[in-house]
Assembly symmetry: C2
Homo-oligomer: 284 residues x 2
């Protein structure tokens, strides 16, 4: 997905939020915004938003000197999600279609996104998501593909959401490779947060080799790209992975909660919708 003009004010909103998480010094925060301002002319609208996002968050890190501003937030999100696991396991156990319920819970976890929107209620989101159908629902295809797949690649997104991904992967009951960011970017999971979420117990956790808040194949390691190219199915979580892979060829399924008006318009759905979308359309 290309960068829309609306993304530009949003980059400033995100830079301000991240800088505020990193420091209380308004002069330093102003310097972050000054530097982001200088970047605007170099943002090509042809780029995907996470390509620019990476530069914006690198700027926050450089100017504030804080390597991982969202470290504490990531920990808190994992704790918050972990505290819900027992009750969510019951919901999965009591449901007609365990895998569908677990998939929807993992999509509800995608609300934990401090790039898109820092104010959310995780419990409420889970209830909402379980109580309503996805706006795009290729779940039957997803299930069928998973049933026949041997090589499953799962692209993680935010720390905390990772805990719910574990519940979903348990229902897949197959070997899964779970890929995360190479180093800290927003509140996205790295190998550290994936381990803390127990994902190594249900999947092989690897780094994509890139620290963009999405999956830009040209910036990933050869090893990751090979796994991507050979996968029978790729489960892509979240907005950043959608923004960077929406035009990719391959057996990709996008599972996300739509948290911004630009993506809502791009997908032709309402903001707040949840999506289970096959990149290859609804026919197999």
């Amino acid at each position: 997905m290309k960068t829309y003009l609306e993304c530009i004010p949003c980059f400033f909103k995100q830079a301000l939020f991240a800088a505020r998480v990193a420091t209380e010094d308004d002069r330093i925060i102003k310097k972050v915004l000054d530097r982001v301002g200088m970047l605007v002319k170099d943002i090509p609208l042809e780029n995907t938003p996470p390509e620019t996002g990476q530069i914006v968050y690198d700027t926050v890190r450089e100017v504030t000197g804080v390597e991982d501003p969202f470290l504490e937030i990531k920990q808190a999100s994992i704790d918050q999600a972990a505290a819900m696991v027992q009750s969510l396991e019951k919901k999965i156990a009591n449901s007609n279609d365990r895998m569908r319920t677990a998939a929807k819970i993992s999509i509800a976890g995608n609300i934990i996104d401090f790039g898109a929107n820092a104010s959310f209620d995780l419990n409420e989101t889970v209830d909402q998501v379980l109580g309503s159908p996805p706006a795009i629902d290729d779940y039957h295809l997803l299930r069928e593909k998973i049933g026949r797949a041997q090589r499953i690649l799962y692209l993680g997104d935010n720390a905390g959401e990772t805990v719910f991904d574990r519940l979903f992967i348990r229902e897949i009951k197959k070997r899964v490779v779970y890929a995360v960011r190479q180093s800290p970017i927003i509140n996205d999971a790295t190998i550290e947060e994936a381990r803390q979420s127990g994902l190594h117990e249900v999947a092989e956790v690897i780094s994509s080799g890139s620290s963009a808040p999405g999956t830009i194949l040209e910036k990933c390691t050869d090893e990751f790209v090979e796994i991507f190219r050979n996968a029978d199915i790729i489960i892509s979580k979240g907005q950043g992975n959608f923004e960077t892979l929406s035009d990719a060829k391959g057996p990709v399924f996008f599972l996300l909660k739509v948290k911004c008006p630009v993506i809502a318009r791009d997908l032709g759905v309402k903001e707040g919708s949840i999506i289970i979308k096959s990149a290859q359309g609804s026919r197999m």
Copy 2:
């Protein structure tokens, strides 16, 4: 009021909105945002937001080549407000305190602000405002001051709101000088829009001499500043006039609808509140 860090993403939102009103060419709109980006480092947080706002909107004008992007919007707002006059006159006639009702109607008209928030429902806002008390309510002081005043200066804000200002000024029943912007800026009224709103029938309409979306005394004409300094009471409408005069000495009353979180915090009220606030405090 100083510029808050949150104002910076908002300048981009405003530049994008104004550029979209001026042109459909995304490349030109991107150039506007590029130019605004270059400005950020030169925005001192000590300045009031309208000082920067003027530069931002000048940039929109320069890059798009459209002198008055909001011309049609201003006309439509005046027409919309004018269509409500008859029913509002009835509400004023049937109320216990005609001047208070008319003042509140003129504050409701302050919702017509295409800088702060382009989506609003004017009818609904009037009903809401008439049905609830101001969050800061120095009306009794305002009424008393007006009763004793000989020289009344009224600082206008948005086109359309001007129509409701006329209803309020009619209830004041004294000679009023009504000041507007020197040239087009956002959807603020100039002499042209003030005349179209019939303000010349109830007041002496003058220009402040400045085209900032507020009242920056250093940039106004000597003639205006003299009227300002000699006024027995200054009725200041809207956010921009508040932002630029909040620290001014003088018998100023701020009448506005709070349309942004920064001003809400600065005033210690909720967003959406209406305000009748004496700059000199609630004691006379």
